[in-house]
């Protein structure tokens, strides 16, 4: 098992080995406790600056990164597209170079175009964290999903996981497919034919199947992940109506009867109630949607810590380093709403 994470950037899950992913998850577990304390702050990144550079609207992810940075004592600065100079015609590269001149220790980037963080990573010195690039990857989302599954299932290896919805445009689906198959799960994806190309099966070497019907994907599943339907894509006419989508591709309680008895349901949010997921399920005992949000903080603390710490002195290292990777995985301290690990 890898005992370290030596990459400069976190651009995607596809580039990572199973060992690196496990190390990130283990590190995140050690940070989870910080958020449960009364004083939710450790001095790990004191004096360091994290810039959240968001070219695309986001509440949850940006807030999560900001809180993660602050709980590590870093100075977090948020720049969103509406306040940036991008609207004045400045290029992505010029924006990033200007920010870099202010000596940040890490730049977290969200962009509507795939590859934008890679572009910055090539041209800038600061470590880059991809907080979602177009339809490409959203690595910290997959890590928090992986952490949540590990917490409730005790493992990822050998699980059957269904991902339902707009796979074609989903960076969450891509990052999750890479992470889950690398860690030994079997992933089945399903949704309307226009949003789930058959070629998707070739995305990874093994462990991925494309199903035509969502019932087939959910059959015997240990985990069901529902993707958000992006209403703004409706005009591209990938499916005839929201109504038809909710009837044929939305998750209803009857679907879960086909799944494993202790199935858990996840959604990256924000949810469209009654469209891709029924409220009974979203608010029900099998839903881990809010646990995902909580784990997002721990995962982002781990990522920022590993990338932004730079060269610590021995003294700092000793005082701020978390207690090392957690012991046995899946030692969920609480069993919530009757779901057993």
């Amino acid at each position: 098992m890898s005992t370290t994470f030596n990459r400069k950037h976190l651009l995607g899950i596809r580039d990572l080995s199973a060992e690196e992913i496990t190390y990130l998850l283990d590190t995140a577990e050690t940070f989870r406790d910080v958020s449960r304390r009364e004083i939710k702050k450790v001095p790990a990144l004191r004096g360091r600056t994290v810039i959240n550079l968001f070219f695309e609207a986001s509440t949850r992810t940006r807030t999560s990164f900001e809180i993660a940075a602050k709980r590590l004592s870093a100075d977090a600065v948020n720049i969103s597209v509406s306040t940036s100079s991008v609207s004045k015609g400045e290029t992505l590269l010029d924006t990033a170079r200007n920010l870099e001149a202010m000596a940040p220790d890490c730049i977290v980037v969200r962009h509507s175009m795939a590859g934008a963080p890679h572009h910055l990573a090539r041209m800038c010195n600061a470590p880059i964290v991809n907080a979602g690039d177009g339809s490409h990857e959203h690595p910290t989302q997959a890590l928090l999903d992986g952490l949540t599954i590990r917490e409730y299932k005790g493992r990822i290896d050998g699980l059957n996981i269904a991902i339902i919805g707009d796979i074609l445009h989903s960076r969450v689906a891509r990052s999750n497919i890479h992470l889950l198959t690398k860690l030994g799960a079997t992933v089945r994806v399903a949704g309307p034919g226009t949003l789930v190309p058959a070629e998707f099966a070739e995305l990874v070497e093994h462990g991925l199947r494309v199903e035509q019907r969502i019932e087939d994907a959910i059959e015997g599943a240990d985990v069901v992940m529902i993707l958000r339907i992006q209403r703004e894509r409706q005009n591209a006419a990938f499916f005839p109506s929201m109504r038809e989508y909710s009837v044929h591709y939305g998750l209803h309680p009857s679907h879960l009867e086909r799944a494993s008895r202790d199935v858990i349901v996840m959604h990256p949010g924000p949810i469209n109630r009654g469209i891709e997921i029924s409220s009974e399920i979203a608010d029900g005992s099998r839903s881990l949607i809010l646990d995902q949000v909580t784990n997002g903080i721990a995962v982002r603390m781990a990522v920022l810590y590993l990338l932004a710490r730079g060269n610590h002195s021995a003294h700092e290292e000793a005082s701020v380093k978390p207690a090392g990777p957690a012991g046995p995985v899946g030692n969920a301290k609480r069993v919530r709403k009757g779901i057993r690990a």
Partner: protein, 444 residues
């Protein structure tokens, strides 16, 4: 003025020549080919081509010279300089300049600039529709009188079958080839790379092979309907080649060209979001590349054309989705074509056929692409063994957008002669010739 290209190996598929011969050029035109030892005029200047291949000048059917309008990317002067450095004696300029070449004034301007520069011969291609807007026919007759050699709305496909039919029928009256960039817009819109496994991995919007194949089939059906000459630009897909192959079997006047990057690279090259891998048509998957190699081998593909498309570094420095399509290609094409020769895909003769003989025929460029008596003295001198590395910082083009910087090649054009005048000589030409002499001495 007489120039004797001596001791070379003459390859001219137009007359089945493939032998050690000398070539005499007089007053800019081919006077005759001489057998070894046959006496040449004493007053001829001698060009020593020992150990080199002497071919009819290469003709690039597809370049973007950006002048008028986008001189910050390329000018006719810099484009023509890059052309002769790459072994091209003639280049055919696509009309998507600013303004579009849909008027005799623009056509004449391009011709005059080409003459003034005096390097590669520049042949303008006229717009197929006014402003290349896809709605009204351009004044093809006026344009032909001014000097265009074909019509095209390259960069975009002719939008409807009805428009294409009318253009073909009208162009037929002037015996102009209709050049189409086959791509059904309703399938390709928004796409930035080949649709397939890699576009799914990278989360980039794909351009399916079917977008090209649908239009290639459409154009071949219309060539049958109209008996017009249709030339499919930069074909990149198995299906487009199948359409052309079938059209040829039916005896239709359908031809096609392939661009070197389409056989040299695959869609996997996009993996790092390098905008120098962003092309239209896009770099395709291995299977399509295999079909292109097959088409080069079996004769389905008529010509090699660069689709030289210079862009400024600031434009190529944008996000992958935002950066413009295209790469420069004039200086690397012959090197990439020699890869095919060394890999046994094509013969040297076929290379000359693809770069000179056929292009001249496709656009009816009379007295070019051949070394017959009285043809223009346009010659490309090749060294199939020359090993070199492309260094974009030394490129003659104004732009630097190439995926081949630092790539090693075996085989190059080492001299370029236009109308009997040496317009390009490889910087190491003396050393190359000296090594040929010592090889020959050692051989004896």
């Amino acid at each position: 003025m007489k120039l004797l290209i001596a001791n070379g190996y003459v390859i001219d598929p137009s007359q089945g020549l493939n032998a050690g011969m000398d070539l005499l050029i007089e007053d800019g035109r081919v006077a005759r080919v001489l057998d070894r030892g046959e006496p040449a005029p004493k007053d001829a200047e001698v060009f020593d081509a020992t150990g080199l291949m002497v071919a009819p000048g290469f003709i690039d059917l597809h370049v973007h010279l950006r002048e008028p309008g986008q001189e910050y990317k390329e000018t006719i002067a810099t484009g023509a300089a890059a052309a002769v450095a790459g072994g091209w004696t003639s280049i055919c300029a696509m009309p998507n300049t600013d303004p579009v070449n849909d008027s005799p004034a623009v056509t004449r301007f391009i011709l005059e600039q080409g003459e003034r520069v005096g390097l590669a011969k520049v042949f303008p291609i006229g717009a197929l529709t006014k402003g290349s807007g896809g709605k009204e026919l351009s004044e093809m007759g006026e344009l032909k009188d001014a000097g265009i050699v074909a019509v095209s709305d390259d960069g975009r496909s002719v939008p409807t079958a009805g428009m294409m039919r009318r253009a073909m029928e009208y162009a037929r009256g002037f015996d102009l080839a209709v050049v189409d960039h086959c791509q059904d817009h309703s399938l390709s819109a928004g796409g930035v790379m080949h649709e397939g496994r890699w576009s799914l991995i990278l989360g980039l919007r794909g351009i399916p092979a079917a977008a090209e194949e649908v239009d290639a089939n459409r154009d071949c059906a219309l060539a049958r309907l109209t008996s017009a000459r249709v030339h499919l630009a930069h074909v990149s897909t198995r299906g487009a080649l199948e359409a052309i192959r079938r059209a040829k079997e039916l005896g239709l006047r359908a031809t096609c060209e392939v661009a070197p990057h389409h056989w040299a690279l695959t869609d996997e090259a996009v993996a790092d979001y390098d905008t120098n891998m962003k092309l239209n048509p896009p770099l395709r998957s291995r299977d399509h590349v295999g079909a292109l190699l097959e088409g080069l081998r079996d004769g389905t593909i008529d010509a090699i054309a660069t689709d030289h498309a210079p862009h400024h570094a600031d434009e190529k420095g944008l996000e992958f989705d935002q950066a413009p399509f295209g790469i420069t290609g004039l200086e690397t094409a012959v090197g990439l074509a020699f890869d095919l020769v060394h890999q046994g895909v094509i013969s040297l003769e076929r290379l000359v056929e693809l770069c000179a003989t056929n292009p001249a025929r496709i656009f009816s460029l009379e007295e070019r692409g051949t070394l017959r008596k009285n043809s223009w003295g346009d010659i490309t001198i090749l060294d199939p063994d020359h090993q070199w590395t492309f260094d974009v910082s030394k490129s003659k083009s104004k732009s630097r957008n190439t995926p081949f910087d630092g790539r090693s090649f075996k085989g190059a054009a080492v001299a370029t002669i236009v109308a009997g005048r040496v317009v390009y000589l490889h910087p190491d030409f003396a050393r190359i010739t000296a090594s040929k002499h010592s090889q020959f001495a050692a051989g004896r």
